[in-house]
């Protein structure tokens, strides 16, 4: 950043307390504000070739013949390749994990070889001197297809009359059943049983920057450098190495600026693997950037669940048991290497999570279909689990005639009940549901809103208030992927180096995709070492530079990467004091580092500037005792291991007004109280919540990938696939409860997914609360379009 006019700290920042807990603006934003970032498509390389893909127009078809002759004659064409040609350089993969027992998926190639299993699957690659030349040539590829039967509906997929893959006996990718064994009895003895079926539309991430990769193979070194918009550079390094047969040490993955990821950019995509293979084949740099239509067709989709859920409770409002049956469709392949079984598995793990019932029964079926693949997108499974839980909890409260807040108060796990094991087997270290609930009710002025709602109902204005308590997976241990055999690191590392000038360079394996990772690492490092923030430079996203680690996913950057930075910072401070003691010939116990200087701990007297210490340590070590060697570069790693996940909790509320004539929903307010442990930067934490909430609102109200019965995507563009825009979004009030995890010294848990986890449920409950006076109208199929809301009202009226 230049000699900026911008302050390095927000007004009110107190530097003497360290930077943790301060709303420090991100130091690395200037380049993005000036349009001088380095997104993949901004990079300029000599001899850069561009690839465009010939994609299947059918959801399921055999490739009988591909004729490239016309395409090859086009100007600027470097080569046209089919699946077999690319497979010579890139081996196929199978996305299964050992701990998801029974999960299956067929081998998947970078370019389809015999058969396309979904619309948009890449069946040939055209490489040209420009993208437009490549696209022109794609249009001249002639293909002969044999259309195969398609499976689009997930209920039909489960029945298995038509198979997506002939090599399998059925269309089931993964199945899981869970029963605490007392569930059936609990439902029998319950005073009240409520049941409903919820539908969750298939939607997608819509990162503003499409997926992007620039692979640069150097034949002289047999080395591959990949500039990749990814969340997990080391995971990709391993994958490029193994599937392209290049020694891992010869593969370097560099992640510069990434234009949004949200889980979309943490998976292995066939067209990206093909791009890397083509670079090897052609011995030159090759770039692929997914355009918007390709993004809708081939970025992972998510959700698409149909879930029947039941809740048993006593007439005094004590929840006894949950029972759920989840069916979800994932497309033709489980996505590599995380698999597409995780989302459904999370629904089973998490449903009912905030409450203290002891009985639980769940059944999950994950099926193959001939639509695009689905996999982990922001909050993975949580939006479904929270909506099921909170939707059925509201229905129970309604049936008992109890206020929804009071019903939750009676059933949320007590704040002093931890550590606590939930019936699905997950363990909570320490949560704060009741504190969060009470804080939310106060912040939103719940009682007054209820009174206002009542007044307005008399004027036929239908407002609704929806609550959604939640638990969220953060800081995952190796139990998430590593135990299943995936080469995905749950550990992260940080290297800190004191430079001769007194600057501190931080290199960390967690990546920056805009959430502010580099900013909080700067805050933690400055605080731990004892320097001011402008002395810190942070480097992330380069496997050739940073320690090994997992990257950015599952709300792990702050909690895991941050702890590694903290540990490394403390170690560096200790080493600095050793050097200072040697230079000053003083006892190191008398010294400390504060504000870029070594001081006397007792008197505060300045003894030595860090710049002077650096000068001596690097350039005049001859002046130090012979046996002394300074160590001003330190590396520390951290892996959470005591718990499978470090759960966070929180609660959201939505206030909506439903127009009963048009079915339109107006969002009037949204609140979120979140306990993510130690808050390192309140402004950034709030912005993670807000951004996440708006993505959740998108799922609740607008976003759905619509397919026709032939498996054709009907709305693969931004005019027809609606996303939240500024005019419709509410202001969002955020508040925090801080229960630091005791597993780490930093105490931070994750915050990146909480907003998305709870918002759909809060909005759904608010809509149904608004509709309640309209004959008990109720909607349970997301997204809640005006049409669906009007249908819900009409159904209720016809019942009456």
């Amino acid at each position: 950043m230049g000699k900026a006019e911008l302050p390095l700290h927000a007004p009110g920042t107190q530097l003497d307390r360290g930077y943790i807990g301060q709303s420090v603006p991100r130091p690395n934003l200037q380049r993005l504000l000036q349009g001088r970032g380095a997104f993949i498509d901004d990079l300029r390389f000599p001899r850069l070739a561009h690839v465009a893909f010939f994609r299947s127009p059918y959801a399921h078809a055999r490739i009988k013949r591909l004729d490239f002759s016309k395409a090859l004659k086009q100007p600027g064409i470097i080569g046209v390749f089919d699946g077999r040609a690319v497979a010579e350089y890139c081996t196929p993969w199978v996305a299964v994990l050992a701990h998801l027992k029974g999960i299956k998926s067929p081998p998947q190639h970078a370019i389809a070889i015999e058969r396309a299993c979904s619309q948009g699957e890449a069946c040939a690659a055209v490489v040209a001197e420009s993208r437009s030349q490549a696209e022109d040539a794609v249009g001249l590829i002639e293909a002969e297809w044999e259309e195969l039967p398609v499976v689009v509906d997930m209920e039909e997929a489960l029945q298995g009359k038509t198979l997506v893959h002939e090599d399998f006996d059925d269309n089931v990718c993964f199945r899981r059943e869970l029963d605490t064994e007392g569930a059936a009895a609990a439902f029998e003895r319950a005073d009240v049983v409520v049941e409903d079926t919820f539908h969750f539309g298939r939607h997608t991430g819509v990162c503003l920057e499409g997926r992007a990769i620039l692979a640069d193979y150097n034949a002289g070194e047999h080395s591959l450098t990949v500039y990749h918009a990814t969340q997990a550079p080391h995971m990709m390094q391993d994958i490029f190495s193994r599937h392209l047969n290049i020694p891992e040490a010869n593969v370097r993955v560099i992640t510069k600026d990434v234009g949004g990821s949200f889980g979309i950019k943490v998976h292995v995509y066939p067209d990206e693997m093909a791009t890397a293979a083509l670079s090897v084949m052609l011995r030159r740099p090759v770039k692929f950037v997914a355009d918007r239509l390709e993004s809708f067709l081939s970025d992972i989709h998510c959700r698409e669940h149909r879930v029947r859920v039941r809740l048993a409770c006593t007439k005094s409002g004590e929840i006894l048991a949950f029972d759920l049956d989840d069916l979800t469709a994932i497309g033709p392949y489980s996505v590599y290497p995380r698999t597409s079984g995780i989302e459904g598995n999370q629904v089973v793990n998490l449903t009912g999570g905030p409450y203290r019932h002891r009985e639980y029964r769940a059944r999950l079926n994950v099926v193959f279909t001939n639509k695009n693949v689905t996999c982990q997108y922001r909050a993975v499974g949580h939006p479904i689990a929270v909506a099921l839980t909170e939707g059925i909890v509201d229905l129970a409260a309604q049936k008992l005639g109890m206020d929804p807040a009071e019903f939750r108060r009676r059933n949320l796990i007590a704040d002093d009940a931890y550590p606590y094991t939930f019936p699905s087997g997950i363990k909570f270290e320490k949560l704060s549901h009741h504190q969060c609930l009470e804080k939310l009710l106060a912040v939103m002025n719940y009682r007054e809103l209820r009174a206002e709602q009542e007044r307005l109902r008399n004027k036929n204005i239908y407002r609704g208030i929806g609550l959604a308590a939640m638990i969220e997976v953060t800081n995952p241990s190796p139990a998430f992927y590593g135990v299943g055999g995936a080469r995905i690191s749950a550990q992260d590392g940080a290297t800190l180096r004191l430079e001769p000038t007194g600057m501190v360079t931080v290199m960390c394996s967690v990546t920056e995709q805009g959430q502010g990772t580099e900013a909080i690492f700067a805050q933690i490092a400055a605080s731990a070492v004892g320097v001011s923030l402008e002395k810190i430079r942070v480097i992330t996203g380069d496997t050739g530079v940073t320690p090994y680690g997992g990257g950015t996913w599952a709300s792990r950057g702050a909690g895991i990467g941050g702890e590694a930075v903290l540990q490394a910072g403390r170690a560096l401070r200790a080493n600095i004091l050793e050097v200072a003691a040697a230079i000053l010939t003083l006892d190191r116990q008398e010294l400390d580092v504060q504000r870029n200087q070594v001081i006397n701990l007792l008197t505060g007297e300045v003894k030595l500037a860090l710049a002077e210490l650096g000068r001596v340590a690097y350039f005049r070590p001859d002046t130090l005792p012979l046996e002394f060697q300074s160590e001003l570069t330190v590396t520390r790693h951290y892996t959470p291991r005591q718990y499978g996940f470090t759960f966070t909790n929180g609660i959201q509320a939505s206030l909506v007004e439903v127009d009963a004539d048009t079915g339109f929903v107006r969002l009037l307010g949204h609140w979120c109280v979140e306990d993510s442990g130690t808050v390192i930067n309140p402004m950034l934490a709030d912005e993670q919540l807000r951004g996440g909430i708006v993505q959740g609102i998108g799922a609740a109200l607008y976003e759905e990938c619509l397919y026709d019965p032939d498996g054709q995507l009907l709305n693969g563009n931004m005019a027809d696939y609606l996303v939240p825009m500024a005019a419709e979004m509410p202001d969002i009030v955020c508040a925090h409860v801080e229960t630091p995890t005791r597993q780490s010294q930093l105490g931070a848990k994750g915050v990146g997914e909480a907003g998305t986890a709870g918002a759909p449920a809060a909005v759904m409950n608010a809509i149904n609360d608004a509709l309640a006076p309209l004959g008990g109208a109720r909607v349970t199929r997301m997204p809640f379009t005006p049409e669906r809301i009007l249908d819900g009202i009409a159904r209720a009226r016809s019942r009456a």
Partner: protein, 162 residues
């Protein structure tokens, strides 16, 4: 390139002449021919606003205008308005309020916001939201962006710069 056309235009105050394909979009021309990569390509069908530019004083979608249509025009991009300091107040407010996360929408968002600032009217939050409703941001949820623009508008109106 049989049908290529010669164009001359002013980009960020500098006159440039190039021979371009008639089908080339203005934003691709700026990015690929001039190396001005600050204007981003998000949807290529005029919905997301990431490629918002200023042409002869009006904001336009760089993906909905052809380079040949800009012949003889005065084009301003995020790079130009950054260097001229015209965007400095908005950039400062965006920075302080974290009104950007990944930063991909930011150049277009700033160009759209500056258009509102230049109009110099006192506007409500809802009017700010309406003005930027053609600019998609997946990261922030928009509130911080609205806050930042509101702050600049307040300051500009007070100082009579509008």
């Amino acid at each position: 390139m049989d049908h290529a056309l010669d164009i001359t235009l002013t980009v960020n105050g500098t006159q440039v002449s190039r021979r371009v394909a008639p089908r080339q979009h203005l934003v691709d021309f700026l990015r690929d021919e001039l190396g001005l990569t600050g204007s981003h390509v998000g949807c290529e069908h005029g919905v997301c606003g990431a490629c918002t530019l200023r042409v002869d004083g009006e904001i336009v979608r760089g993906c909905l205008m052809l380079a040949v249509q800009a012949n003889g025009c005065r084009v301003e991009t995020i790079e130009g308005l950054s260097d001229s300091k015209e965007l400095a107040p908005l950039q400062k407010a965006f920075h302080e309020r974290n009104a950007l996360q990944c930063g991909f929408c930011t150049p277009g968002m700033l160009m759209a916001a500056q258009d509102l600032v230049r109009q110099g009217n006192k506007v409500s939050r809802n009017q700010i939201r309406a003005h930027i409703s053609g600019n998609y941001c997946r990261c922030t949820g928009y509130q911080a962006i609205v806050d930042a623009i509101e702050e600049v508008l307040r300051t500009e109106v007070i100082h009579g710069k509008g």
